[in-house]
C-alpha cells in the first residue's frame, strides 16, 4: 500500500483575527487564538464543538486542554505540537493534523497559532539577563541574541558560495510589500516600498537591511481540517492537502552553527520527497508562499524547491516575475511575514487556501496548486502542497 496523505484530507475553513502591530492588540493572546479558531469554524460552516483535535508549533502557549474546555469541545481526541524550529513548524502542524485525520485518531482538527508579542515580549529584542549556560553560552555573550543575527551569516554564505546576487533579497522584500498594498488585512498596507526605499533603509545586521526582516505582530490564525469526503458537504470549496514534508538535513541541528551544509534553508532533502508525494514538480506550482523570517532564507527556499537554480536566481527572482497576477512565480501574495503580519507564517498557509479557492486579494488566475514553505534555515523546516479538486 502506498503511504501518502495525498487527497485524503481537506482544509475546510480558515480564520484570522485582525492583525495588529505588536502591543496594539486589545485582546490577550488566548482571546486572539479563540477568535481565529471560531472564525475558521464559521468559515467552514462547522460547529466549533465538533473540533476534536488541536495542532500547533513553536511551543504555542495556548494549550489544547484549556482551549477545549473554553470552547466546550465534546471530546478532545488529538493534541499535538511540532518540536523545535520556531516558525518552521507551520506546515508541519498542518501535516500532523492531516495525519491524525487520515489515521483515524480524530475527525476535525484545527491548526492554530496565536502570538501576542506585545503581551509576552518581542522576538526582535533579547530578554537575556544574568548568566547563560550550555550551547547558548557559545554565542549569546558575543551579542548573537536575535533571530536576524542567527541567520545573517548563512545568508552571507549563500551570496559568497553560490554567487547569488544580493538583488534577489530585495526583490523578495519588494514583492511582499507590493502584495500588501492590495490587502486590507495587511499591517503594511499604505506603506509601499520601492527600490530606493529599500536601499536607503538602515542595516539591521549586514547583510540584512530593515526590509529584509520580518515584522513583530499580535494576532492569530487557524485552519480547520476534515476528511476529504466530508469537506465536499461544507460551506467552502475544499482545498486538498497533496503532500507535506519535514526537512532537517544531516546534522542540521549541530550546535554553534556547525551544520556541515551551512547556506541551506533545510529543504534540500525534503523537497524531492514533497514533490514525489504530490506527484507534481515545481513547474506545476501556480503560486508560492515562502516563510520570510529573512529574505535570504526565502531565496534559499525557492532554490531548494526547484523554482530556480543558484545560477538562474538573479534572472528568475525579479520583482515583476514575483508578483500576481502576471508574474511567472507569484510569491507571498498576501504580503506574508514581511508586510501582512508576522503570524509566525501560518498566514501563509491561510493565503495558500485563499489562492486555491480563488479569493485572494492578489489572485493568481486559475491557481490550482499552491506550495507553502515554513521557517527556512531552521531544524526542522516544513513545507506542504495544497491543491484544488481537479488535482485528485
Amino acid at each position: 500500500m502506498e503511504r501518502s496523505i495525498r487527497g485524503a484530507v481537506a482544509i475546510a475553513g480558515i480564520g484570522e483575527t485582525t492583525y495588529y502591530k505588536r502591543g496594539q492588540s486589545p485582546d490577550p493572546e488566548f482571546v486572539l487564538g479563540l477568535k481565529a479558531i471560531l472564525a475558521a469554524c464559521a468559515d467552514a460552516g462547522i460547529d466549533p464543538r465538533e473540533l476534536d483535535g488541536f495542532a500547533s508549533y513553536s511551543n504555542d502557549r495556548n494549550s489544547p486542554d484549556r482551549l477545549a474546555a473554553a470552547l466546550g469541545i465534546r471530546e478532545l481526541k488529538f493534541s499535538n505540537m511540532v518540536w523545535g524550529g520556531g516558525g518552521g513548524g507551520g506546515s508541519g502542524a498542518v501535516a500532523n493534523a492531516a495525519a491524525a485525520i487520515a489515521a483515524g485518531y480524530a475527525d476535525c482538527v484545527v491548526v492554530f497559532r496565536a502570538l501576542a508579542q506585545g503581551q509576552f515580549g518581542r522576538f526582535g529584542q533579547s530578554q537575556f539577563q544574568g548568566v547563560v549556560a550550555g550551547e547558548a553560552a557559545l554565542w549569546a555573550p558575543y551579542g548573537v541574541l536575535s533571530a536576524a543575527q542567527m541567520f545573517a551569516m548563512r545568508t552571507t554564505r549563500l551570496l559568497h558560495e553560490h554567487g547569488v546576487p544580493r538583488e534577489t533579497l530585495r526583490a523578495v522584500a519588494l514583492a511582499s510589500y507590493h502584495h500588501a498594498q492590495q490587502n486590507p488585512r495587511a499591517v503594511m498596507r499604505g506603506r509601499p516600498l520601492d527600490v530606493e526605499g529599500y536601499e536607503r533603509s538602515r542595516w539591521i545586521t549586514e547583510p540584512f537591511k530593515l526590509f529584509d526582516c520580518c515584522l513583530e505582530n499580535d494576532g492569530a490564525a487557524a485552519l480547520v481540517l476534515v476528511p476529504a469526503e466530508r469537506a465536499r458537504d461544507l460551506a467552502q470549496k475544499p482545498v486538498y492537502l497533496l503532500a507535506a514534508a519535514q526537512g532537517s538535513e544531516y546534522r542540521a541541528g549541530a550546535g554553534c552553527h556547525n551544520n556541515p551544509d551551512y547556506a541551506t534553508a533545510s529543504f534540500k532533502q525534503s523537497a524531492p520527497r514533497l514533490y514525489a508525494m504530490a506527484k507534481l514538480g515545481p513547474q506545476d506550482v501556480d503560486v508560492v508562499q515562502s516563510y520570510e523570517n529573512f529574505t535570504g532564507g526565502v531565496v534559499m527556499s525557492l532554490i531548494e524547491h526547484g523554482f530556480c537554480s543558484y545560477e538562474s536566481a538573479g534572472e528568475v527572482l525579479r520583482l515583476d516575475n514575483l508578483i500576481a497576477p502576471k508574474g511567472g512565480l507569484p510569491l507571498n501574495t498576501s504580503g506574508g511575514n514581511l508586510a501582512e503580519c508576522y503570524m509566525h507564517g501560518l498566514e501563509l498557509n491561510v493565503e495558500a487556501v485563499r489562492q486555491i479557492r480563488g479569493s485572494s486579494c492578489n489572485q493568481v488566475p486559475g491557481a490550482e496548486v499552491a506550495l507553502v514553505s515554513s521557517g527556512p534555515m531552521v531544524s526542522n523546516a516544513t513545507s506542504m502542497i495544497a491543491g484544488a479538486e481537479s488535482l485528485l
Binding site: 548568566v131 551579542g143 538602515r202 542595516w203
Partner: protein, 147 residues
C-alpha cells in the same frame, strides 16, 4: 588579555551544571582555546556533545585545534537588540572555521575596529578577553585578524 569588545551587561557564560563544556571554559580562563576531540577516532567536533557523532564513542577529550583559523562567515551588527548594546554598535560577529580540525566552527567577535573590512577566508587568531570581576570569573575567546 584584550579589552572587552562589547559593553558590560550581556549574558555571562558559566559552565553547564552537567559538566559537558566545563573543560572549554576552564581552558579559556588559562588563555587556551580547546575543542572536543574523540579519543577513539581522533576526529574533532563542536559544539560539545556527550557522544562522538562519527563513531559513537563517549570518550571525548578537549584539545587545541591545529592549524590556522579562518573567517567562514561574518556579520556586522548595527541594530542593538539588548539594552547593554545601545552604545555598543556596530560590532562584528565572526563564524570562525578550523580547516585542519574537521572544519569545526566557533563564534566570537572581531577584536579591533568594527568598521574595517572583513573577508571570508581571512586568517584569524584567538585572543582572550578576561572578566575577572565577574562572579564567577570567565574569559571569552575573541578573534584578531592575523595578516
Amino acid at each position: 588579555m584584550s579589552a572587552p569588545v562589547l559593553p558590560a551587561g550581556l549574558p555571562r557564560p558559566i559552565p553547564h551544571p552537567d559538566g559537558l563544556d566545563r573543560p572549554y571554559w576552564e581552558a579559556a580562563l588559562r588563555h587556551e582555546l580547546v575543542a572536543q576531540r574523540c579519543r577513539d577516532c581522533r576526529r574533532w567536533q563542536w559544539a560539545p556533545e556527550w557522544l562522538c557523532h562519527r563513531c559513537h564513542s563517549f570518550a571525548l577529550d578537549f584539545e587545541t585545534p591545529p592549524g590556522p583559523a579562518r573567517v567562514f562567515s561574518w556579520q556586522r551588527v548595527w541594530h542593538p537588540v539588548h539594552p547593554a548594546l545601545a552604545q555598543g554598535v556596530p560590532y562584528v560577529v565572526l563564524l570562525v572555521e578550523h580547516p585542519e580540525a574537521d572544519a569545526i566552527r566557533m563564534i566570537g567577535n572581531l577584536a579591533g575596529d568594527p568598521r574595517r573590512e572583513v573577508a571570508i577566508g581571512a586568517r584569524v587568531r584567538p585572543v582572550f578577553e578576561d572578566h575577572p570581576e565577574a562572579s564567577p570569573p570567565f574569559a571569552l575567546v575573541q578573534w584578531q585578524l592575523a595578516d
